[in-house]
């Protein structure tokens, strides 16, 4: 056991924990977060996805002690009480069925749109391909991503200057 410090959604936490513990169990069981979820423990499905340094990371296979940068979870996407455009698009399109995988879908889409704000259909399919849904909500997800991308693009000032999404 040793002390590790994690910065999650703007808050800093110091925990006395076995350093090899996968990040997922700490986020869920110690910090009480409900966004990231256990799906496979193998990094294959994406249900546990969080964002670190702009990248979608599978927290079920990442040792907690290896994460030095700030972690954003699904709970951290909204700002000032406003849902992220992706979350809003998910509601507008009525995407989820059971919803268990949707954390991974939204977080993976967020990391993709941050890097590529205007993805083609083929890029969406490719970027999202390793994030699984067993209720098969893929068609709605792809529609919601396109809707959110448009909302984000429309909200961007004409100067082309980036605003926080």
């Amino acid at each position: 056991m040793s002390n590790i410090t994690l910065k999650v959604n703007g808050s800093t936490h110091t925990l006395d924990i076995e350093p090899a513990t996968p990040l997922l169990y700490i986020l869920r069981n110690d910090l009480g977060l409900r966004g990231p979820r256990f799906g496979c423990g193998l990094g294959q499905c994406g249900a546990c996805t969080v964002i670190v340094n702009g990248a979608a990371v599978r927290s079920c296979i990442v040792p907690a002690s290896s994460v030095k940068s700030e972690i954003t979870t699904l709970e951290g996407l909204s700002s000032h009480g406003r849902l992220h455009p992706l979350q809003q698009a998910w509601i507008d399109e009525q995407v989820p069925q059971c919803g268990f995988c949707q954390n991974g879908q939204i977080m993976t889409a967020k990391a993709m749109l941050d890097k590529n704000p205007h993805p083609t259909d083929a890029q969406i399919r490719e970027s999202m391909n390793a994030t699984l849904c067993r209720c098969m909500t893929y068609y709605g997800i792809q529609a919601a991503i396109k809707r959110a991308a448009k909302v984000i693009a429309d909200a961007r000032p004409a100067s082309g200057k980036e605003v926080a999404a």
């Binding site: 056991m1 076995e18 513990t21 996968p22 169990y25 869920r28 069981n29 009480g32 977060l33 409900r34 966004g35 979820r37 256990f38 799906g39 496979c40 423990g41 193998l42 294959q44 499905c45 249900a47 979870t73 699904l74 709970e75 996407l77 909204s78 849902l83 979350q87 998910w90 509601i91 009525q94 995407v95 989820p96 069925q97 059971c98 919803g99 268990f100 995988c101 949707q102 954390n103 939204i106 259909d121 969406i124 399919r125 490719e126 999202m128 391909n129 390793a130 994030t131 699984l132 849904c133 067993r134 209720c135 098969m136 909500t137 893929y138 068609y139 709605g140 997800i141 792809q142």
Partner: protein, 788 residues
Amino acid sequence: MTASTGIPKRVEQVLTTHRRGFLKSAGLLVVSFATGAGPFTEADAQTGGATQGAGPYPDPDFRQLDSWIVIHENNTATFYVGKTDCGQGTGTSFRQLMSDELDIAFDRTACIMGSTDNTVDQGGSGGSTAMERDSWPMRRAAAEARRVLLEMGSVRLEAPVDQLAVGNAVITVKADPSRRVTYGELIAGKKFNVTLTGANVNAVTGAAKVKAVQDLKYTGQSPQRYDIPAKVDGSLKWAVDVNLPGMVHARNVKPPFAGAKLTGIDESSVRNMPGFVKVVTKGNYLAVVCEREEQAIRAARQLKATWEKPATAPFPASEDLFQYMRAATPTSASNPIVVGSPDAAFSGAAKIIEAEYETPFQGHTAIAGAHATADPSNGQMTIYSNDMKSYGMRNGVAAFLGMPREKVRVVWMEGPQGYGRTAADDAGCEAAWIAREIGRPVRVQWMRDEETAWDTKGPAFLVKMRGGLDANGRLVAYDYNARSCDYNHVGYNEADTVLIAQLMGSRRTKPAAGSSATPSDMYAIPNRRMVGEVVGLPMAWETPLRTGNLRDPNGPQSTFAAESFIDELAAAAKADPLDFRLKMLTADADDNGFRRARSIAALKAVAETYGWDARPSPKPIGNANILTGRGIAYSFRGQTVVAQIAEVEVNRQTGHVWAKRLACAHDCGLVVNPQSLRRTVECAMLHGLSRAIHEEVRFDTEKITSVDWLSHPTLRHADVPERIDVVLVNGDPNPNRPDLPPYGAGEAALKPMLAAIANAVYDATGVRIRRVPFRDARVLAALKAARV
């Protein structure tokens, strides 16, 4: 009327929390219910073990109106229903129907579902019966509440009921609308105390009649699902999020070989691991308990145990399965359904076609494994679970532990996809047993390999078909013979068949017979014989090839055969596949006109939506690398008719099949929420597509070898069609009838998809694939064999 202090304790807690939620979020009522499973589960989960309600846990009385509806003083209502929502938005649809019958604004209502001590037992979910069966008692209860409130309003406003108007939970005198009273003012924190009648929960009714379909205001609209916001902002507390004081974590250690006997455990292999609590075992059931989740995962992997292989192989390898099924002696057979004289008709047929179709075992492989948390404090047992049949789980856990039923309750919370897996989800009984063994609350969660290998499976089907055409290409003789590998099909958390009981040595003297479906179309075939047989594997117990209900238990398999074969017959008759079907739906020999009329409407609607090009299959094959084609299939499930068209691209070099476009005409009678229905249908179609092109449980003669998302592929984003059209059809001969009923929606939409894909592949390539799934290697081999 009695004061609210008379309300049973648990319900009172619900109401208190509820009212607080309403008051706190005035103007944003829906948000306070966006926590899905409802505030009471929050309260339960947060207060947890030490303060667990002392019980006994009541069975809410379905004959009491108060069990169904609570009107709050602020003129809002909460509906309590004995159903669970597997993600199709049924809770929202119940609210729409009940709001309509009660005459209250939809956004001033909430719905609480599926917890055994708070909601009447409607059985939870299953069989796509939510709207078809279970919405009726809800509607009648809400209609009765409206009638009772009108009577109360009549007394208060000193005017006869027929001179009153009601809308948005406000009663007014028609002649003088300034004379008004709200439902909340009439109830004033008290109860209805009205007894309903009905022999069982499905027959519950009051004196009031339900409204005509034309008078339903919210029904037929698409209010957004109330459960979705909390599913996308991370605030939903799922069953797997329950975290009780003093709670520990358990992980199962499954036999490494099917039928293996546990002969020794070396506890020293884990005793000194951090957080170790206990090894729990009985018979061949084995689990490790640790303080923290990751510790339990590690300990379960590290625990040394010795297992003895069974003397004989439990099952053939998956590649030999159909050969085995062909040779096996059936354990049971249905009485043949015979119409006309099939043998004589075959003798006189101009052309006879025969074919065999194979659908392997397919798993649920939910996105996360089975899980449950059990709290054994105060001599009670509370299970927090996503089991879709929470009421059945309560009975199963009580019987399994030998506890009185009234000391056991199941709190239903949301979880990963149901589709039948959580009708027998295993983890509830395991958590309860371990919790009692160690005297602490415990969460059990199955790992990925465990879930994929050991979840319940949809049965494998081998279907032999024979058809006889006359000289005019008319189908005059038909023979359908199905064999399903479904012996010992498991029930719903039965104390003697749930997996933990099997592993502990429980053996029912008469295992469930299983079933083997016949096709459900409405074709008027003059001479027809259909029979279903069931076969079993050598090992019936403790097997990872346990069959259970998987989204329309037998329909996708039987319809794959039946609707592929109709296409083969159409091709043999050189007829357009749609026209060939329609011609068999015009006669009225064995139909009352109703189902056949709706079949015709659905087939025509899907053809129009897609833009069907009438011609025989296959299409002439050119030289292109990508071959394209379209296929059609249709079936009934209960009273719901579904017709689907798939357009595919087949890559000649790789054998890869991509469904570029899907279209569906779906008639489930009364549509409650078109948007959520469309999404449900679309997702069911893609589930069918996944089963058509990817899914198969593979095994050697000792164990399942499909254990993760690499060894058990599923549909992914790249597989998704470019376009999906869902058209909702009302093909009722009297489409505007005021009593148009809703029929089951979800499962029916999966049923024809496998055949639609197979027929499209044939149209594109001229090659008939009769074995599911159509993975690249299989399709490529078939193309090469046919020199395509």
